[in-house]
């Protein structure tokens, strides 16, 4: 599985790197584009010292932790949401006749290493925030755990988004609200959002476990919404709880695939 992934990704990467100048330009511009979200946070904190009870550095920590996971998924999994294009163009048929999972073929299709710049950008923000905040070193073990959790949650979301497109071939854009919307939602401390919305993204769609709940633990803070402290450690459970239905939905989607044309 993994070796096939690397192989396919490498083939696409080589094709992308054939045009060096445009490759470098895209890497730089992609990083700048991703950094516009940081620019927004900086502009906000040029006008205030605290947002919904969280400081500049704390917000950057939450942003960085979520965005490392999000950009990682965007690079390595995000292409699966282009499935409706492949279905319409008939190229999904070609993926189904290969002895490799179509999920891997989709994820690596047109794989471009230029997106690595975004991960680097998010990682730099996270590193800055970790250095700037005076954190309890005994709690830092949670940082890698929350990033892996975030990767699994976002990857599951993207897989769900792709599965939905077996049915929703006419309006694939609707899934952007869930994939990119989740990326946007987790950039800020959840204390800015309304209680009901936070309940929804904790118990229905477990986005709170990407960076909010584990992040509170790392920052050594109580949840303003008053959830019990054991919730801070439930991230991996939530991730598996989302990955399972995503995998089932994908399998179901393949079995109901209708193909197009004559």
């Amino acid at each position: 599985m993994v070796s096939t992934y690397i192989l396919l990704a490498w083939t696409w990467a080589r094709a992308a790197m054939a045009y060096r100048a445009s490759f470098a330009l895209m890497a730089v511009l992609g990083t700048v584009l991703a950094a516009t979200d940081v620019a927004v946070i900086l502009v906000i904190f040029a006008n205030t010292t605290s947002l919904a009870g969280f400081s500049h550095d704390e917000v950057l920590f939450l942003y960085g932790a979520s965005n490392v996971a999000f950009c990682f998924c965007d690079m390595f999994v995000g292409n699966v949401d282009r499935i409706s294009r492949h279905i319409k163009a008939g190229t999904f048929d070609a993926m189904l006749i290969r002895p490799v999972s179509p999920w891997i073929q989709l994820a690596t299709d047109n794989f471009s290493p230029t997106r690595a710049g975004r991960i680097a950008q998010a990682a730099a923000v996270l590193a800055y925030a970790l250095a700037a905040l005076d954190l309890d070193a005994r709690r830092l073990w949670m940082v890698p755990v929350m990033i892996v959790t975030g990767v699994v949650i976002f990857a599951s979301l993207w897989t769900l988004a792709a599965s939905v497109q077996f049915v929703l071939t006419d309006a694939p854009e609707v899934v952007n609200a869930f994939t990119y919307g989740s990326g946007q939602l987790t950039q800020y401390p959840f204390s800015v959002y309304a209680r009901d919305l936070v309940r929804g993204v904790t118990y229905a769609l477990p986005l709170a476990f990407v960076n909010w709940q584990p992040g509170l633990y790392v920052l050594g803070r109580d949840d303003p919404f008053g959830t019990p402290s054991f919730m801070r450690f439930l991230g991996p459970v939530a991730a598996v709880g989302l990955a399972l239905p995503a995998w089932l939905a994908w399998r179901r989607g393949i079995r109901h695939y209708r193909s197009t044309g004559s």
Partner: protein, 328 residues
């Protein structure tokens, strides 16, 4: 005609393809004239062409002297063409609405910390957020929306350029139809959702709505003019993705779509509020909120629209030179 043409400023195409200045050009009345000084000066012409765009085929007998019906029809076709993607547009409206809600909460938190910031109250800030999300579709703030790059890539642009009508006006008319459709389907839902969830302000009275309508159109014109320039760049670039992404960065950040521009501090703030991107979202949103004077805002937008459309007209001429005359 060919000699007068060579006296004009050398366009980018001329720089790329040095050509004997007095190369004779077959005078085919079906080919649009590239002479900026040609043409009848009727009031209507001035009204629709903005500085008498030189690509209007004044010598084409079957369209002279008045093209309004043609462009009116193109507006309708543009509208209809996009009306076939109703599900896609609704999906876009949904996404814009979701992002509107998420951004609104962030702005609410900011205005709770700093009431009255930038002359807005909380309701202003929330309204700003949903109105700018509503602009994404009609103003095409994420770029694209034009057929020109694809037509240049496939070479079909040559067919468009020999039509006795300006490519720029043609695209502009179609884009107006697109904007009109997306205003209805992608523009209205986010604002209605914002009104239902948080409450939004509205322009007051007829004058308020009229001012907003004018500034909205002017904002669209600046947006179109900019996207048209980006689209033309394909003609000179092997890979246009760089320009596309560059434009995306500039537009999302500097239009005020992600954050109200009055929040940007210092001289940097002064600068970004004077650039053309501010005319695309910040300016019409401020007129909607009633936090900016409509006439001054309109003048600001119109000057950018004229400047960018004139650049686009020059670019169109350069492309014609490259594609039609040199057969490149």
């Amino acid at each position: 005609m060919s000699t007068r043409r060579s006296q004009g400023p050398p366009g980018p195409a001329a720089a790329l393809n040095p050509l004997p200045a007095a190369r004779p050009r077959a005078h085919n009345p079906a080919l649009p004239s590239a002479d900026p000084r040609a043409g009848p000066r009727t009031a209507r012409h001035r009204a629709i062409t903005l500085r008498r765009c030189e690509t209007i085929p004044f010598h084409a007998p079957f369209h002279a002297p008045f093209h309004a019906p043609l462009y009116a029809r193109l507006v309708r076709y543009g509208f209809r063409k996009h009306a076939t993607y109703v599900w896609g547009a609704l999906a876009g409206a949904f996404t814009n609405s979701v992002f509107g809600v998420l951004r609104a909460y962030v702005l609410i938190a900011l205005w709770e910390a700093r009431p009255g910031l930038a002359g807005y109250d909380v309701t202003h800030a929330v309204t700003y957020c949903f109105v700018t999300q509503a602009f994404i579709g009609p103003m095409q703030l994420f770029g694209g929306g034009l057929d020109v790059p694809e037509r240049i890539r496939t070479g079909d642009i040559a067919l468009d350029l020999v039509r006795p009508a300006s490519l720029q006006l043609w695209s502009m008319a179609e884009d107006l139809g697109r904007a009109g459709y997306l205003f209805l389907v992608r523009g209205i839902p986010p604002v209605l959702l914002g009104a239902a969830l948080f409450g939004v302000v509205r322009p007051s009275g007829f004058a308020g709505w009229a001012g907003f309508a004018a500034c909205f159109l002017a904002g669209w014109a600046v947006g179109f003019a900019w996207r048209y320039l980006v689209a033309l760049s394909v003609c000179w670039l092997v890979d246009d993705r760089g320009v596309q992404v560059g434009s995306l960065v500039l537009t999302t950040l500097l239009s005020g779509m992600m954050i109200p521009l009055p929040l940007v501090p210092g001289p940097l703030g002064e600068l970004v509020r004077a650039l053309p991107w501010a005319a695309m979202a910040q300016a019409p949103a401020d007129v909607y909120l009633g936090t900016a004077p409509p006439l001054e805002t309109l003048a600001f937008q119109a000057s950018w629209a004229v400047a960018l459309l004139a650049l686009g007209a020059l670019g169109t001429r350069a492309i014609r030179h490259k594609v039609v005359i040199q057969g490149g």
